[in-house]
Symmetry: C2
Subunit: 427 residues, 2 copies
């Protein structure tokens, strides 16, 4: 096993250099990476074949096999993604504001990279390409730990990307690939060298990372999303939204897990729901009031806190709007929650009081996603309230610094009253 702490320190050192690399050089490197991946197509596909063969031997489950597969289509997809990324405006060196503090004393807030990003992800090899190019565009060094089942594919992709980047003039530490699972523990202790961790994987995995490091973590563990059918909902319109939120893709964090129904419409709505659920093979788990109206499995309190990621929907009848808000703030995971109502004032109250990153009116929770928000590249979804929140694009990988330009200015002159600040924003 390599000494991760020493590697991370060397990467940290290179990160200071990468922070000053021009937009032109970073974009040229991205273009070179496109060419390298395109030219290396045969090697990448062969490496992926090797991973797939091994995975089939060890009996990897079908959904994981599907994620692991990296064919011509997927390669074309990530190459197109890099082209779009290169065309995005530079997130670095942007002056967010400039202000004169006094004559000849100018303050600027300027964007800069975060530094070193540690990314731990599971089988999908496309994640390696996306994350490494997002970090390069934003001037960050990336230390990647991929899944061992994708090791041949990851190694092939890494070699091509790293070599193309270095040839284009990027410091060698811009990208590091770790290989063994044992290295994760060591990585989590590198709080002096790694500025941010982005774990991409199961809830339990993300929770483990969050609980075992002092490094700030960007991401989310649970995704317990709600749809609330209000007293003033259009019930016909509500059914397709609820079913989309639940079934369009059940294994993802922005799928709905709990449906809340205003008591005043429970008699009319629940039979419609029951019919739609049966048709879509969704198992309903219901509170006593739901049980009194439709066939369902009795709900326990733990169901309100469970992310099933399956064709299962928990249903609860509530007293009204504020009870729905209270339920969501209590049992939810502050990810994405929707209200279905034709009353815009009630929608606004819900969206104001529900303490989640994404609050929706009359549409499916499944829209909560960087691509659908039009962000282009996506880093992940954050349920933290600090730094980036919700679907996170490139701006989640940058921070800023204050630059102050003077000409011999000292604080003593202002403390003594000999000089006074003359603040004036510079546009």
């Amino acid at each position: 096993m390599k000494n991760i702490a020493i590697i991370a320190e060397a990467v940290k050192s290179d990160s200071y250099m990468l922070a000053a690399i021009s937009e032109e050089t970073r974009n040229r490197a991205l273009t070179d990476i496109v060419r390298a991946l395109s030219d290396g197509r045969a090697a990448i596909l062969a490496a992926n074949e090797a991973d797939l063969t091994e995975a089939e031997k060890t009996g990897l489950a079908a959904p994981l096999l599907k994620r692991l597969k990296f064919d011509n289509d997927k390669l074309d997809g990530v190459i197109q993604g890099i082209r779009e990324l290169a065309a995005l405006p530079d997130p670095l060196f942007q002056t967010r504001f400039a202000r004169q503090l006094d004559e000849g004393l100018i303050l600027k807030q300027v964007t800069c990279p975060i530094g070193v990003i540690g990314v731990i992800f599971e089988s999908r090899p496309d994640a390696l390409v996306q994350i490494s190019t997002l970090c390069l565009k934003s001037g960050n060094c990336a230390i990647l730990k991929g899944g061992s089942e994708a090791k041949h594919t990851n190694a092939a992709l890494f070699d091509l990307i790293h070599q193309a980047g270095v040839s284009a003039g990027i410091p060698a530490g811009f990208l590091t690939l770790l290989e063994s699972r044992e290295e994760i523990g060591a990585l989590l202790s590198c709080e002096d060298s790694i500025d941010l961790l982005i774990p991409r994987g199961s809830n339990a995995f993300v929770r483990y990372i969050m609980d075992n490091t002092k490094i700030p973590v960007m991401g989310h563990a649970d995704g317990i999303c709600h749809v609330y059918v209000d007293k003033y909902a259009d019930l016909e319109k509500s059914i397709p939204i609820v079913m989309d939120a639940k079934t369009q893709y059940v294994a993802v964090c922005n799928a709905a897990e709990t449906l809340l129904v205003h008591r005043a419409v429970a008699d009319a709505f629940l039979p419609l729901l029951s019919k739609a659920a049966e048709k879509a093979h969704v198992q309903l788990i219901g509170c006593p009031e739901t049980q009194a109206r439709i066939a369902c499995i009795p709900a326990r309190e733990t169901d309100y806190r469970t992310e099933y990621l399956d064709y299962i929907l928990t249903v609860r009848v509530v007293d009204g709007l504020d009870a729905a808000i209270g339920h969501i703030n209590r049992y939810g995971s502050h990810h994405t929650d929707a209200i279905l109502t034709e009353d815009p004032d009630r929608a606004e109250r819900f969206m104001q009081l529900v303490d989640s990153a994404d609050v929706f009116h009359n549409c499916s929770t499944r829209f909560s996603d960087g691509y659908r928000y039009g962000f282009g590249a996506e880093v992940g979804v954050s349920t933290s309230k600090l730094h980036a929140r919700g679907p996170v694009g490139l701006e989640g990988l940058i921070t800023y610094k204050y630059k102050l330009y003077g000409n011999g200015h000292v604080v003593a002159d202002y403390a003594s009253g000999q000089k006074a600040f003359r603040f004036a924003d510079i546009s």
Copy 2:
């Protein structure tokens, strides 16, 4: 001892309500607080007298006594501060961007409060007033733990502020004052109810907080700030800047601790420094090359990592600009660092490559402060790279949420290709 977890949960519940209180009500509450503090002047001063009497009995050190003192001038100062705060633009309910995703599907990024802020501070009672009004303006609930030596003053201030706020229509949980030191431990475990901790106090105290909680912490432990005198520095101009950075107020985080000198100017500069340091009673600690040129105490490596907060300056001769940058990134605390040079290109390189929140050219590190940056109210100084960095104003207490307004939109239509996104920013 009260059950802190239960208190924090109740505050969390009120925080959802506070997030929706109008600007008008919050500003009216601030105005009412001004009146309450003004009318309660006699009670506040009497409470402070009681604290001072007890503190003198227990032999509190003179600088702490000075901080503890809360007289007419200090009260006028905080009252003026609240008036200015009330006049600032509302940080909440601001739409940062709006975008059409498709016809009738509108995304907005809107500012909102973080939620519940825990603030732990030492003796200064003015901090209680500043923090509680900053939190109110930004729609956050505050749980405060003040120093026991200020308990009478804090209780008097809290009663006036809390009563005025509640009378103006603010939920009672907007402000909570904890009294015993034992409660800090319980507070640090409230990661489900408290969104952010702001510790204000000594390095050891802040470090202890950071190491003993899962709640995100905003602030800084060490403040090891550097001044680098470049080969192209104007030496005459440099001396007053260095002395201001070191001596204008030695006990603060933005005072310089280490001076780096380019070897090419060491012969000319160090004797000037020696003379100025002697006059200002600053003890110099020097590297071997410094020792060879002027009288000083020999430096050990630990001196480069020590925040003396005293009339002590560590001096090191370096090979050049990049050696200075390397030293700062290695030994510094990423707070504030200055270059003194007449060459703007070298200044820009330094400001680009030094990985600190505040990087200065030809002026004193002591300018690194929210008031001097023209931010008005200051929450603290952050050396974190996530969320707010450097001196933090009101914007450090807010976050945002995404609001998505639809009309029956479901993701299945876009996944099937039946509909396509039509992104268009709305100005």
